[in-house]
C-alpha cells in the first residue's frame, strides 16, 4: 500500500463513523451545527495525529502487557493540552464542545488506531493514517453538522439558508438526538450503496 492510499483510506473507504461505526458518541453529540462538528473533528484529528506519531515512535519500547494504559496516558495528555489551549484561545468553541473535549480520551477511534495501526507501523505511515482517519472524521462530522443545522435551525454557519420563514419554524427534531441518528443512518445507507 503506498503512502497516498494510507492517507486516503481513512477519508471514505474506512471512514471511522460511517464504515467502521466507531467514535459514534461524539459524532452524535457534537454535530448539531457545522461549527461544532468541524471543531470537534479538528480537535480529534490533532489528538489522533500526535498520539499515532508518539505511539509509533515508542512502539518497540512499549511492553505488550501495559500498552493500553500507556496509550491512554499519551492520548489523555494530548487531550488535556488541547483542552487548555481551547480554553485559553478559543473560549467560545470550548464552551460549545464542553464536556466532549475530555471525552476524546475515550473515543475508541483514537485508541483503535493506536492499537490497530500505530503500534505496528512506521512513524510516517502512522502519521498519515492518523491524519487520514482524523480528516475523515472531521469531514463526516462537518457534513452531518451541515445537514442538521440547515434542517434543524434553518441556518448554515449561523446564516439563514432557506429564508427567514423557515428559520422561524425549522424541523426542530433534526438538532435533537434523533436527528443525528437519522442523518448518520441515511449517510451510511448512501455510502453502502455507492462506495462499497
Amino acid at each position: 500500500m503506498n503512502k497516498w492510499q494510507i492517507f486516503t483510506r481513512g477519508l471514505v473507504k474506512e471512514n471511522a463513523v460511517l464504515i467502521l461505526m466507531i467514535g459514534l458518541c461524539p459524532a452524535l453529540a457534537t454535530s448539531g451545527t457545522v461549527r461544532d462538528g468541524f471543531g470537534m473533528g479538528l480537535a480529534a484529528t490533532f489528538v489522533l495525529l500526535f498520539s499515532n506519531i508518539i505511539i509509533s515512535i515508542m512502539r518497540k519500547r512499549i511492553p505488550h502487557e501495559v500498552r493500553i494504559p500507556i496509550f491512554i496516558l499519551i492520548i489523555s495528555t494530548f487531550v488535556t493540552i488541547i483542552d487548555y489551549f481551547m480554553q485559553a484561545y478559543q473560549p467560545d468553541l470550548y464552551r460549545a464542545l464542553g464536556v466532549f473535549v475530555p471525552l476524546i480520551v475515550v473515543n475508541c477511534m483514537i485508541l483503535g488506531r493506536a492499537e490497530a495501526y500505530a503500534s505496528k507501523n512506521s512513524v510516517i505511515n502512522s502519521a498519515l493514517d492518523g491524519l487520514g482517519v482524523g480528516l475523515g472524521f472531521t469531514l463526516t462530522l462537518t457534513v452531518i453538522g451541515a445537514i442538521r443545522e440547515m434542517l434543524g435551525s434553518g441556518t448554515l454557519l449561523g446564516v439563514a439558508v432557506f429564508g427567514e420563514a423557515f428559520k422561524q419554524s425549522p424541523v426542530i427534531f433534526m438538532i435533537l438526538p434523533p436527528g443525528a441518528f437519522l442523518v448518520i443512518g441515511v449517510l451510511k445507507a448512501l455510502i453502502n450503496k455507492y462506495v462499497k
Binding site: 511492553p63 501495559v66 494504559p69 500507556i70 499519551i74 487548555y84 489551549f85 485559553a88 484561545y89
Partner: protein
C-alpha cells in the same frame, strides 16, 4: 513476556514525562485562561448595563456598576432559575431608579439546556428586550398578570425567567445603594471612613464635627437602607433614604422631605397609612444613634 520490572519502569517513565509536559503547558495557558474567563464575564456584564467599571460584591453573583467618576449607577446580578431542561443562567442589570436596564440569558453554547427551537427562544431579542425599563413588580408573564409576553409553547421557560429575575431583584435590592453626597448632611466637611461602608467621621478644618452612618432595616415590603448625620451634640443633622421598595402612596411616603426633616427636631410621629414603614425607620434611626454614639467626640 516482559519482566514486571520493565513494565513498571516504562509505565512510570511515560507517566512522569506526561506530567512534566502538562505542567509546562498549564504554566503558560492558565494565566490566559483566567484572563479570558474574566473578560467574558465582563463582556456579559456590559451587555446589561452601561458602566465604566464593575466592582464585585459577591463573587460571580453580584457587581456594583460604577461610572467613570466612581458613583454607583446600579447593580448587576446573576440568577439561575430552574427552567424546563435545566437551570437558566440570567444576568440582570438594575439601575438606581429600580428599573431593569437589560438582561442577558446564556445561549445554548454557554450552558442553556432549554429545548432547541422552543425554550431556547428566551434568548432572542424579542423576548429579552421586553424586560428593559420594567420594575420588579411588572415582571411576570401576561397569563399571570404581568407585562411580559411569554413565548408560545415555551411557557415554562418564560415563567422561569420572570420568577428568577423577580426573586433576584427581591434578594439584591438591598445592595442597590446610590453613592450619596454626604455633604448634604454636613456641608463643606470631609469624611473619613471608620467602618467600611457604614460609619464616617465628618471633619471640617481638622475638627471632627460629627458622624455619618448608614444602616438597613426591614420595612413593610423589603429592606430600607438609610443614612444619618449626627453632630457632636448627638443631634441629628439629617436623615435620607438610600433605597426602599415600599408601597407606592403608602410606605413610600417615608421618602417625604417633611417627614425626614422631623428627625432634626427629635423623634417624629409615624406616618398614617405607612405606620409599619415609618415606625421601622424611626426605630432603626434611634437604634443606630445608640449604637454609634460612642464614636462622637
Amino acid at each position: 513476556m516482559t519482566s514486571p520490572r520493565q513494565m513498571v519502569v516504562t509505565l512510570l517513565t511515560v507517566a512522569i514525562v506526561c506530567s512534566i509536559i502538562l505542567s509546562f503547558v498549564y504554566s503558560f495557558t492558565s494565566p490566559r485562561i483566567i484572563e479570558t474567563q474574566k473578560r467574558m464575564t465582563l463582556d456579559g456584564l456590559k451587555q446589561v448595563i452601561e458602566a465604566h467599571e464593575f466592582v464585585e460584591v459577591i463573587p460571580d453573583t453580584l457587581w456594583n456598576a460604577v461610572d467613570s467618576l466612581g458613583n454607583t449607577i446600579g447593580i448587576v446580578f446573576r440568577v439561575f432559575p430552574q427552567g424546563y431542561g435545566g437551570l437558566i443562567p440570567i444576568t440582570v442589570g438594575f439601575n438606581l431608579e429600580e428599573k431593569i436596564t437589560g438582561i442577558r440569558i446564556a445561549s445554548a453554547a454557554e450552558g442553556l439546556k432549554e429545548t432547541p427551537g422552543l425554550g431556547v427562544k428566551i434568548t432572542e431579542p424579542d423576548f429579552v428586550q421586553q424586560f428593559i425599563g420594567k420594575r420588579g413588580s411588572q415582571i411576570s408573564i401576561t397569563k399571570d398578570g404581568g407585562e411580559i409576553d411569554a413565548i408560545t409553547a415555551a411557557t415554562i421557560s418564560s415563567r422561569a425567567v420572570c420568577s428568577g429575575i423577580r426573586k433576584g431583584i427581591e434578594t439584591y435590592l438591598c445592595y442597590l445603594t446610590p453613592s450619596y453626597d454626604k455633604n448634604l448632611l454636613f456641608p463643606d466637611a470631609e469624611f473619613i471612613e471608620v467602618i467600611k461602608d457604614t460609619l464616617w467621621y465628618a471633619v471640617r478644618d481638622n475638627d471632627t464635627i460629627g458622624i455619618v452612618f448608614t444602616a438597613i432595616t426591614q420595612g413593610y415590603i423589603d429592606c430600607i437602607t438609610f443614612i444619618v448625620g449626627v453632630n457632636n451634640g448627638a443631634t441629628i443633622t439629617g436623615v435620607d433614604i438610600l433605597s426602599s421598595n415600599e408601597t407606592e402612596g403608602y410606605g413610600a411616603l417615608i421618602r417625604n422631605r417633611e417627614f425626614l426633616d422631623q428627625f432634626r427636631q427629635g423623634t417624629p410621629e409615624a406616618i398614617t397609612g405607612a405606620t409599619i414603614s415609618s415606625q421601622a425607620l424611626i426605630n432603626a434611626v434611634t437604634d443606630g444613634l445608640t449604637r454609634f454614639k460612642e464614636y462622637l467626640k
